[in-house]
Amino acid sequence: MNRRKFLSAAACGCSALVPGSLFGGSLQARMSPGFRPEPASDENGLWDQFVKQERELKRSRFLIKDPELNAYVAAIACKVAGDFCHDLRVYLVRSPYFNATMAPNGMMQVWSGCLLRCQSEAQLAAILGHEVGHYLRRHGVERFRDAQQKSAFSTLLGLGLSVAGGGIGRFAALGDAFILASSFAFTRDQEREADTMGLDLCSGAGFDPEEAANVWAHLIAERNARENQGFRDLVFATHPVEEEREETLRGLAKGMPGCGDPARRGRDRYLHMLRRERASFFADELKLRDYGASLALFERMLETDKDDLEVAFNLGEVYRLRAREGDDTKALESFQRLAGLPKAPAETWRSLGLVRRARGEGSEAAQAFARYLELKPKADDAAIIRTYIDSGRTS
């Protein structure tokens, strides 16, 4: 269906179905496909900044190259964006945090931490839809103009105050404070708009809209398990309170076609596309050393699919790396259980060996390491593993 037709159709359907909708119905795009800002306009100046950033991003070493995965994510973005497909470029960036960004010129970034956390195609589509929502509503330039207006207002206010006897020094300080405060993050209202719009786009593109709320449920669980509660994610700092967001999204999704339909989630296809990169995403996640959050993340992933052996392996890794009192036993149990399964990752044996070795169980460690090398004779770390085997035998 033509996207704009869909949007206007949904505008009727939605407000009728969901009286609680924040905006009383669906939102319209503030541009048409192929949009370019007027030459010499402020929006054009803003775009130009991002054209430069995009040029650099294109040659960044942090881009994920996997052509199949790139094509796959781009295709989902296209499906969600409809007629605006050709106005967007999606870049997959290796960064282990949950984030995606949208620049005013259509440069979208999806971080690897986001890809790891999504449990299905529909969840990824929900995030892409949200970003497309920012683009279609032209939130970037809106924010810029808002900052201009606020600072102009404060400047004039300051002048007025100084005329009234406040002194010019106070005036200058007022203006500066405003410039710094408007750090150009989207506002919470803009986030709500993007949520609403993204949901419409996803549901219209045939994805289960409830998955948008599930993304948030997931992140809330992870946030609550974070060991350093002082650390707030980039996302959480500017976005509406997560609980409110999950609730609103779930409420809105209820009235939409395909809500809660597992056939519209595309979990298997999603994991299949991620297969070549996922191990490195897990490795990056573990390097954050935020073990409480990683445990919550992996446990939740196992709730969705208890037979996902890659997740089970990484859960064991959290215990092995955290190495607190009793963690070695938990790690050992995880790896032993996995080692009994035919499709366990080869690295299970290496980790089993490392835990055994740390416990001073030299000969058991050597056995596990030998098994690892049997399964992966050309492993990058084969040489050091051999020295472990030798030292294990002599100990």
């Binding site: 130009d48 900044q49 949208m102 440069m107 900052a147 004039l156 005036f171 203006g175």
Partner: protein, 238 residues
């Protein structure tokens, strides 16, 4: 989830710093009076220009102006070419597509950013009338030996880095400045600031650096632009 944004606020803070430091300054610092001569003349690689022109609006927010930036870039390139014929060095302008693998292209992006950071540090640490600070014979300021890639790719002896941030008060801002002045205060207007460095591509050391910081000058139109660029390239080693 977030909007990626240019860091205009940092620029505003910097502009304020210039204003505090003094109205108009240029300072040349040099380790060389003469360029090393590979036969028949030294070869200089002009790096991608790191130039941004912006308009300062009424409230002090900076708005990027790509049209002005494009004009300024054209003037800078023109003047560097003129210098080349006058001083007799060989010039290679950085190609649109760097003839190397993507990692090296990324290195070029990074070097331009490193130069911006090092140039700012030089500005903050300089003493007027002083030569480039050095540790004995070794210059203190360097972009690092990674620059050698540029030498091996292009055969250049030196690289010329140009960093310019220019802002111009909008009409609304000018009114506020006048009103501020009437109240016997100072409201910041546009600021012209920039620095250029000549970098030895064997060592990465900055052998010549010129800093410009003032509240006058205009890069948008030819006549005043040429004056600005000549100030920026003043005392370029022959």
């Amino acid at each position: 989830m977030r909007l990626v944004v240019p860091r205009l606020a940092a620029w505003a803070a910097f502009a304020a710093a210039i204003l505090v430091a003094g109205c108009s300054t240029t300072a040349t610092q040099s380790h060389v009076t003469e360029l090393r001569r590979a036969a028949p003349a030294p070869k200089i690689l002009l790096m991608p220009l790191d130039v941004e022109l912006m308009e300062l609006d009424m409230g002090g927010v900076l708005e990027p102006k790509p049209e002005w930036t494009a004009a300024a870039r054209g003037f800078i390139i023109e003047e560097v070419r003129a210098k080349k014929s006058r001083l007799g060095f060989r010039l290679e302008e950085f190609p649109e597509e760097f003839p190397g693998p993507p990692e090296e292209q990324e290195l070029v992006d990074q070097l331009v950013k490193v130069h911006a950071a090092v140039g700012r540090a030089m500005r903050q640490n300089r003493k007027l009338g002083q030569e480039l600070q050095s540790l004995g014979d070794k210059p203190l300021w360097s972009l690092g030996e990674e620059v050698r890639v540029l030498r091996s790719r292009t055969g250049a002896d030196y690289a010329l880095f140009v960093h310019v941030r220019d802002s111009y008060a909008s009409d609304g801002r000018k009114l506020v400045m006048i009103a501020g002045a009437a109240l016997r205060g100072v409201v910041m207007g546009g600021v012209q600031s920039g620095f250029v460095s000549l970098v030895d591509l064997q060592t990465g050391d900055i052998v010549w650096n010129n800093q410009l910081g003032r509240v006058t000058g205009d890069l948008r139109t030819r006549e005043p632009a040429m004056e600005t660029i000549r100030s920026l390239l003043k005392d370029f080693p022959a």
